[in-house]
């Protein structure tokens, strides 16, 4: 709760600072707010994590995931000094919107009532619709914003309809009450099951799982780089964590029913996304499909609900995934500055001109592909081992998909290290980017050395 208040206040502060001429103050304010909020997820002197009018509860799950999301946002804001440098009059709005969106994510980690989940999703999404179109004279950006808005609104509608049906069947929006109603077999089963299916569909839109993923590649490609990064990390984390929280706290008694559609969606998501990613030639589109495929792996955690360690596995996975994605996008921004089209050829010969960026990007790719000993491997390992007992064949499929994913992640490494052609890179590495990628690498290294520290957090 403290974290939400801090973030909200900071967001207001950035909005008003944006009205004045002190543009240089904006990034420090936003960073300070995020760091304070990050501290508040660890240290909570006023006991404000209690349940709050039956809407929130900042339990360990919520605090841990809030930590991941705020950390990701902090790093993204660290990149923003350079990433947003061309924005003039709208800079304050951009920071404000990012922070508001982050507040929404925190609601999605801590809700104990479906109404709060819905509000959280809206608080998260609406600023993002604006952010996606923040380059107002850019056609692709406008297309992305419109697509994202239409798809998002549609998904929220379906989700809301599902919640209504669940309410009809169980008589409450409160997760604990819903859980008890399902466990005791009260209410109409048909209505409940339809409701659950619609909620699965709605949330699958949000985490861009197949077959509800069509918006993702265009939106990722068209949005400004930092907004894409935010979508791929914070939004993805919020979506899957909310999914997990809702299904473990409310719908666990009906697991036999919903585990079938979730299994199908997970299998489709990882396979289709990986197969499509192979054929991409643009970095951002490739990362979009990569993020879809990670949604498939993350769904394994939903199937592992009830297995000890599944929360820790999800937490670890989202953290390593977010770190690697942010580092990759940080490097990409510098590369795209010079060779703007974002094709793989833009990375040719990067290892000679910027060994640091090349090494960071290579480690990020290895981590996303889940290759030992990078932290991404432990993420996959924890997730797979948690879900193994429930769905062994799905794990085999996931393993095959991990092998396929090497092919496209390695295209970047091949371009950077093995290509005999070389691009011109005149831009140096901006200070903000350097610090953020180094911090990201340090955290990935720490997670490799001490995976247990995060895994056992919840």
């Amino acid at each position: 709760m403290t974290a939400i208040l801090i973030l909200f206040t900071t967001a207001i502060a950035t909005l008003f600072t944006g009205l004045t001429k002190n543009r240089s103050l904006l990034q420090p304010i936003a960073l300070a707010g995020c760091l304070l909020a990050l501290g508040a997820t660890f240290y909570n002197p006023m006991g404000w994590n209690e349940r709050y009018i039956s809407m929130f509860q900042f339990d360990n799950f919520a605090l841990a995931f809030s930590g991941v999301a705020i950390l990701a946002a902090t790093l993204i804001i660290g990149l923003s000094g350079w990433g947003f440098r061309q924005l003039n009059d709208t800079l304050g709005d951009n920071y404000g919107l990012i922070l508001f969106s982050l507040c929404g994510a925190l609601c999605m980690f801590s809700f104990t009532n479906m109404v709060m989940l819905f509000l959280g999703i809206e608080i998260l999404s609406i600023p993002l619709y604006v952010l996606a179109g923040s380059r107002r004279d850019d056609l692709a950006g406008n297309e992305a914003a419109l697509k994202y808005f239409l798809m998002g609104a549609f998904a929220t509608g379906i989700l809301l309809f599902g919640m209504t049906l669940v309410y009809g069947a169980t008589g409450s929006f409160d997760l604990a009450v819903v859980n008890e109603a399902i466990a005791t077999g009260k209410g109409s089963v048909g209505m409940l099951q339809t409701g659950i299916i619609l909620i699965i569909v709605g949330l699958s839109f949000k985490i861009s799982a197949v077959p509800f993923h069509f918006w993702a590649p265009d939106v990722y490609q068209g949005s400004p780089n930092l907004v894409t990064t935010f979508m791929a990390t914070v939004v993805k984390t919020a979506g899957i964590a909310a999914f997990y929280r809702l299904f473990s706290l409310a719908f666990e008694p009906a697991m036999d029913f919903w585990s079938v559609p979730v299994t199908v969606i997970a299998a489709l998501t990882m396979t289709v996304a990986n197969m499509t990613a192979i054929f991409q030639t643009n970095f951002k589109r490739m990362m979009a499909y990569s993020s879809i495929s990670h949604a498939g792996y993350l769904l394994l955690a939903i199937l592992a609900i009830g297995t000890p360690g599944s929360e820790g596995a999800l937490l670890f996975y989202t953290l390593t995934y977010s770190l690697a994605t942010i580092c990759a996008f940080g490097c990409y921004m510098v590369v795209a500055e010079q060779n703007g089209d974002g094709s793989f050829a833009a990375f040719n010969g990067l290892s000679k001109k910027h060994p640091l960026l090349a090494a960071v990007l290579a480690i990020s790719m290895l981590s996303l592909a889940g290759i030992p000993p990078t932290a991404g491997f432990f993420g996959k390992y924890f997730l797979f081992s948690a879900a193994f007992a429930k769905a062994p064949w799905l794990i085999v499929l996931a393993v095959i998909n991990s092998a396929i994913s090497i092919y496209y992640y390695f295209k970047i490494i091949i371009a950077m290290y093995f290509s005999r052609e070389e691009n011109v890179y005149e831009t140096g590495i901006p200070v903000g980017v350097r610090w953020v990628v180094l911090a990201g690498m340090l955290l990935i290294a720490l997670l490799t050395l001490m995976p247990g520290s995060v895994y056992a957090w919840i």
């Binding site: 030992p372 491997f377 432990f378 290290y417």
Partner: protein, 481 residues
């Protein structure tokens, strides 16, 4: 002590990769020699009763039963000796070439050594897996950066092939791990103790087999190997053939058979027959090769096929033969690839038909090449002989016909190696080979050490057999099928 063997190369690697100092080759050489010294010390206080010496253990993910645990019994110690004995030779053999940027090349080699030492000493399933995969990344970069023609496609094929194989091993490991009692543990002893039901054991065994069969490689999983060996730079080829493929054989002995012996009774014949097919198949192809490097690549498949067959019959002769032959094959194959590299650097070709008459212009080279070649053919009193003899004895005891077919390896080996040697060294010299320069200092050291080892280990195979005896007895006693 065991931690030191991983840490020395690891720290050197990080230093070389990040600081990119000048004189990287010297630093790398010193580090490999230090590692060799440490493994020498490890031998001194060694207790050869099959227990684990020099154990090092810290919890890694305590909640999930993962412990960073290293230790050595005789089998591990032999592999560690192999790795650290060949490492300085491999580093030294790259001195003749400009590997730019140097810090990156030697850094990757050192990273590779850290991983290899880790693989051979890991006593925790997940630690083993992590090191096993870690070894893949540096060798991928080495082959793809400094390789020859078509390197990018070939190495990516190699990477995906081996990585896929080992992912199935991960699934198998995971399955066995989830059968351990309580909060689960990856400790070797715990995993061995698990009793699998027959169907599960089949799948587990197949998962492991896929990983190790690709790595060795065993027919029909060998298709990546000749291309990769041929395109890789010589240092990379030496690492791959001398040490890395032993990870597969070692994995069979330490992990595959002990973890799923329940299914070995049914599946071992299939594996052994595949290995024997590979011996004959690769030997026949080797006879037809005109590219010297490719020829040795195929001969390596044949030799490893015999090692695999011998190990999987799981009797004393087979295991002891497999172990001693792993060491000797490593020595010989590194020597042979070094010879190829010397020829290629001087003549600019690897085609057997562009050579000939080198004996006249470079007699010392011809003599050293002869010793290494004889070791590879397994002539008695060279190092190749005791291993192949024991292996064939092992396979023979298992099944007469299989032993007879596997025995063809010696005949074929003599055919293709003598043919290659004849075409390279004897006959008419041409304009290029007439001015073939004889061995230089660093080449003298590498080939001299290898030739000495070929002879010494040929005369005194007992040195090695003694080392592994206790461990082989113990593992045969505890794991039966």
């Amino acid at each position: 002590m065991s931690l030191l063997l991983v840490l020395i190369p690891l720290i050197t690697a990080i230093f070389l990769l990040i600081a990119r100092p000048s004189g990287a080759r010297t630093i790398a050489l010193v580090a490999t020699l230090a590692n060799l010294a440490v493994s020498g010390f490890a031998c001194m206080g060694f207790v050869g009763d099959g227990s684990f010496n020099h154990e090092f253990s810290v919890p890694w993910v305590a909640e999930a039963g993962i412990t960073f645990r290293l230790g050595m019994d005789g089998i591990s110690l032999l592999m560690v000796i192999l790795t650290n004995l060949l490492a300085p030779l491999i580093v030294l053999s790259s001195f003749g070439k400009q590997m730019e940027p140097e810090g990156r090349f030697y850094g990757l080699v050192m990273l590779m050594l850290a991983a290899l030492n880790g693989v051979f000493m890991a006593l925790d399933g997940l630690v083993f897996y992590v090191f096993y995969e870690l070894a893949l990344i540096p060798i991928y970069f080495i082959c793809a950066i400094w390789g020859g023609q078509d390197r990018i496609r070939t190495t990516l094929k190699f990477f995906i092939y081996t990585f896929t194989g080992s992912l199935f091993m991960l699934v198998a490991l995971l399955y066995v791990y989830l059968q351990t009692p309580g909060t689960h543990s990856f400790a070797w002893e715990e995993l061995v103790r698990v009793q699998l039901d027959p169907t599960a054991a089949w799948w587990v065994l197949l998962g492991f087999f896929l990983a190790f069969a690709v790595k060795m490689p065993v027919f029909p999983f060998h298709t990546w190997q000749p291309d990769t060996y041929t395109t890789a730079p010589t240092g990379g080829t030496m690492l791959l053939s001398g040490i890395m493929l032993k990870m597969g054989v070692y994995g069979v002995i330490r992990w595959m058979v002990p973890l799923a012996p329940e299914a070995m009774h049914d599946l071992a014949p299939v594996f052994i027959i595949l290995a024997v097919i590979g011996i004959v198949y690769a030997s026949i192809i080797a006879v037809k090769q005109t590219d010297l490097k490719r020829l040795i690549a195929y001969s390596s498949i044949a030799h490893v096929g015999l090692i695999a067959a011998g190990v999987m019959v799981w009797n004393k002769a087979g295991l002891q033969g497999g172990l001693i032959q792993m060491l000797n094959h490593g020595i010989n194959v590194v020597g042979l690839f070094f010879v190829v590299d010397m020829i290629e650097r001087r003549l600019g070709t690897r085609s057997l038909y562009d050579m000939g008459g080198i004996a006249k212009s470079a007699p010392k080279f011809a003599a050293l090449f002869m010793i290494v070649m004889l070791g590879s053919v397994a002539v008695p009193l060279t190092n190749g002989f005791p291993g192949e003899f024991l292996l064939l004895n092992g396979v023979w005891n298992y099944n007469f016909w299989l032993g007879a077919v596997a025995g063809l390896t010696i005949i074929f080996g003599a055919v293709y190696m003598l043919r290659a040697y004849g075409l390279v060294v004897f006959g008419e010299s041409n304009a290029e080979t007439a001015k073939f320069e004889d061995v230089q200092t660093n080449e003298w050291i590498v080939l001299g050490v290898i030739a000495t080892l070929v002879v010494v280990l040929g005369f005194f195979p007992g040195l090695v057999l003694h080392l592994t005896d206790g461990s082989v007895n113990r593992i045969l006693g505890t794991v039966q099928f």
